[in-house]
């Protein structure tokens, strides 16, 4: 039985309300397919957490797919974001931030047919959140980046400003029963890719953490941050797999 679990934490020193990553995970009960979205709201912009949440919810609910014409749905989301953030009068600085727009990186994964049988997956990305496909212990695919050095210093992001163009990277592949998909925001992607390059086993550790639950994950993240291995940023990990144990959280 495939399960999607999510582990997430704000920056150390920030409250849960200040977490600006967003994730969503939806299963199609009829087809057994899954749609997962992960977005990372840009720290520099305001109302970026809201924008990130709107993007992932809309994607996971199947209202848009970047393979197809998505400009109309994105523009509709942008108008909604604008309406929400300008509901009350804003001071000059908040008004300027709304004019500048909110930005969020985006990563989406659609798996057709579920993980119970052979199927296909398609992924889209803009920015530096990363997807990894595992078969057993073997890394089959890394998208959109496969090396730590390739992660961009200033990643591209989806803007909430009306009419902004977006050019998503896309990838696709086959999946089989027993495969796992890990989606993660940039701080964890940096750790993972760096660790893998130094012959560590980051993916096994993360699958263990997904099984162990959020308290263990929080302790692990705190220890990596203290050791200087993990940047102090919002952290999100989504795991879609057919392993049974992650029953503590199911979307």
């Amino acid at each position: 039985m495939p399960t999607c679990c999510a582990l997430f934490l704000p920056k150390a020193g920030s409250s849960a309300q200040e977490y600006e990553d967003a994730w969503a995970c939806e299963e199609d009960a009829d087809t057994g397919g899954w749609r997962l979205g992960l977005a990372d709201g840009a720290t520099e912009s305001s109302f970026a957490g809201l924008w990130a949440t709107m993007l992932v919810r809309s994607y996971a609910q199947g209202r848009w797919h970047p393979d197809a014409e998505c400009q109309e749905e994105l523009d509709s989301l942008r108008r909604r974001w604008q309406r929400i953030v300008t509901r009350r009068p804003l001071p000059w600085y908040a008004e300027a931030k709304v004019q500048a727009g909110a930005y969020a990186t985006f990563l989406g994964l659609a798996v057709d047919g579920g993980l119970g049988g052979a199927g296909r997956w398609r992924a889209v990305a803009l920015g530096d959140s990363c997807l990894f496909q595992l078969r057993g212990r073997k890394l089959l695919a890394a998208f959109p980046f496969a090396a730590e050095a390739d992660l961009p210093w200033r990643p591209a992001a989806v803007s909430s400003r009306p009419g902004s163009d977006v050019a998503f990277a896309t990838a696709q592949g086959d999946c089989r029963p027993g495969d796992s998909f890990l989606l993660m925001s940039d701080a964890l992607a940096h750790w993972c890719l760096g660790r893998a390059e130094r012959r560590g086993r980051p993916f096994g550790s993360l699958l263990h953490l997904a099984e162990a639950g959020p308290k263990r994950f929080a302790r692990w993240v705190a220890a990596r941050r203290r050791a200087g291995e993990l940047r102090n940023d919002d952290v999100t990990l989504l795991v879609l797999s057919s392993r049974e144990a992650a029953s503590w959280r199911r979307s």
């Binding site: 920056k11 720290t43 809201l50 600085y93 908040a94 300027a96 004019q99």
Partner: protein, 281 residues
Amino acid sequence: MPYSAEISRANPSCFLFLIDQSGSMADPWGGAQSGVHESKAQEVATIVNNLLRNIVLKCSKDEGVRNYFDVGVIGYCDQVGPALGGPLTGRQLVAVADLADAPLRIETRRRKLPDGAGGTLEQEVKFPVWFDPVAHGGTPMCQAFAQARQVLAAWVQAHPFSHPPIVFHITDGESTDGDPTLAAESLRQLETTDGSLMLFNIHISSHASREISFPGSDPGLEDPYAHMLYGISSDLPDAMRSHLQLEGYAAAPGARGFIFNAEPAALISFLDIGTRPSNLR
């Protein structure tokens, strides 16, 4: 590694602007032949007010303005003292949230912004003003550095683990109260566990002269006044050098935070890069 401390609400950093407001600041930037009609004092006020606006915007989030920085402006002419006006008159350092909420006035200006499709569009923006241009009297640079030291000594004592303060000193002339070298060195000796205070000097000219930006260890400056300003300027941290190189400056290893005969564009770039936090949490 120095200058790597996270800048957070628990451990904020600090920017202090020391601005020469002497009589010669009433002259046009680059001299009468430059085609610039505004005085140096007016241009500097516009540039620094815009920078203060950008600092507030960097700290502005959904719920309001986060106090990542304390900010101060000290002017020196006939007297030396805090230059912020309006409700902040007399305040030497203010938390950025207080700065956001208490400008002297808010003007409306038109700006060109990217339209998201490769072009630009003109938009009205609110432009807060915290201090107005002033140009009269002498150039008591020693007193200005001494007052900066007094203000920032208390700040580093209160924030021993923070990213250290950065002082931007903008001047167009020579000190009229003696050689400021010792006062500047005393200021630069202030430190936190993350490193020593950084003092950057930007000289602007009333004459059209060759700009010297971010010279290295052997700048070969013939002008003794330029040599003095070079001598009291801090080395640029690597992150700032990298950003300056991206903007086309040489900023080689060992480069100091110093510009002589700065053009307005160089002042804007340097202030922007110098106040760009790489480690804001």
